[in-house]
């Protein structure tokens, strides 16, 4: 697992290195809006995925402790996951509005 995370870290550093070395002409302008839009979507997706994982883990733990609380946990989990997904959609909408 540590090797895998090191590999991803190296790959992400390399993805920065390629455009950095490509600069030289000075005529091409960097599209910062597109770059920041990509980063925003990546951050939003990652954080929403973490939040969904945490919500699901907490629901599973709650169900294992108290199976009788199933209806309330199920309702809260469905609403929570729907609202967390909508946060990623908000980011997507803002990106579409700014990048166009």
């Amino acid at each position: 697992m540590r090797t895998l995370s090191k590999l991803f870290l190296v790959l992400s550093v390399l993805s920065f290195a390629v455009p950095a070395f490509a600069q030289g002409g000075g005529s091409s302008e960097v599209n910062w809006v597109a770059i920041s839009a990509g980063f925003s979507m990546a951050f939003a997706s990652g954080i929403c995925a973490l939040a969904q994982g945490k919500a699901t883990a907490a629901a599973a733990e709650g169900l294992a402790r108290n199976p009788a609380a199933r209806p309330g946990i199920q309702l809260a989990l469905i609403l929570g996951l729907a609202l967390i997904e909508s946060l990623a959609l908000y980011t997507l909408v803002i990106i579409f509005a700014k990048v166009k």
């Binding site: 699901t56 629901a59 599973a60 169900l63 294992a64 199976p67 199933r70 209806p71 309330g72 946990i73 199920q74 309702l75 989990l77 469905i78 609403l79 996951l81 729907a82 609202l83 909508s86 959609l89 997507l92 909408v93 579409f96």
Partner: protein, 141 residues
């Protein structure tokens, strides 16, 4: 024993929240589509209709997936297989991506409508929250 009656009533009330949210979605979608048609034109209305359909199916599949997951977590016998639960969870994203791709290739002008339509469950949940607040106030908290 006298405390049990309100608890049972409120439990029954809250257990119907998901069905009410689906009904709110079914009522809100035509109203919003008609308002969009009137205000922004037919292309945006078609995009919104696509978005509403995708959002409704997405919410329905989310509910089914969570039901299967909860069945498994609680140790109850589930009618859905684990592969079915996972594939349905992932299929929701494929459905959204295909819908967005179709709209982008056929009519990019209606993309705003599609994106707005994806927020139909959020609007329905907000309506449900207002309704629950009203019901709580009507019962005297």
């Amino acid at each position: 024993m006298p405390d049990e009656q309100p608890s049972v009533v409120s439990e029954h009330f809250y257990s119907g929240a998901l069905d009410r949210i689906r009904r709110f979605m079914a009522v809100l979608a035509p109203v919003l589509i008609a308002a969009t048609w009137w205000k922004f034109g037919v292309r945006s209305a078609i995009g919104l209709a696509f978005g509403c359909i995708i959002a409704y199916i997405n919410f329905y599949w989310l509910k089914r997936v969570i039901t299967g997951f909860v069945d498994r977590a609680a140790g109850a016998t589930s009618s859905q297989s684990a592969d079915g639960i996972v594939s349905r969870f992932l299929l929701r994203y494929v459905l959204m991506a295909v819908g967005a791709y179709v709209i982008l290739t056929v009519s990019p002008a209606s993309l705003n409508g599609l994106l707005a339509g994806l927020f139909l469950p959020v609007s329905a949940i907000a309506c449900e929250a207002v309704y629950e607040l009203y019901a709580a106030l009507a019962r005297g908290m």
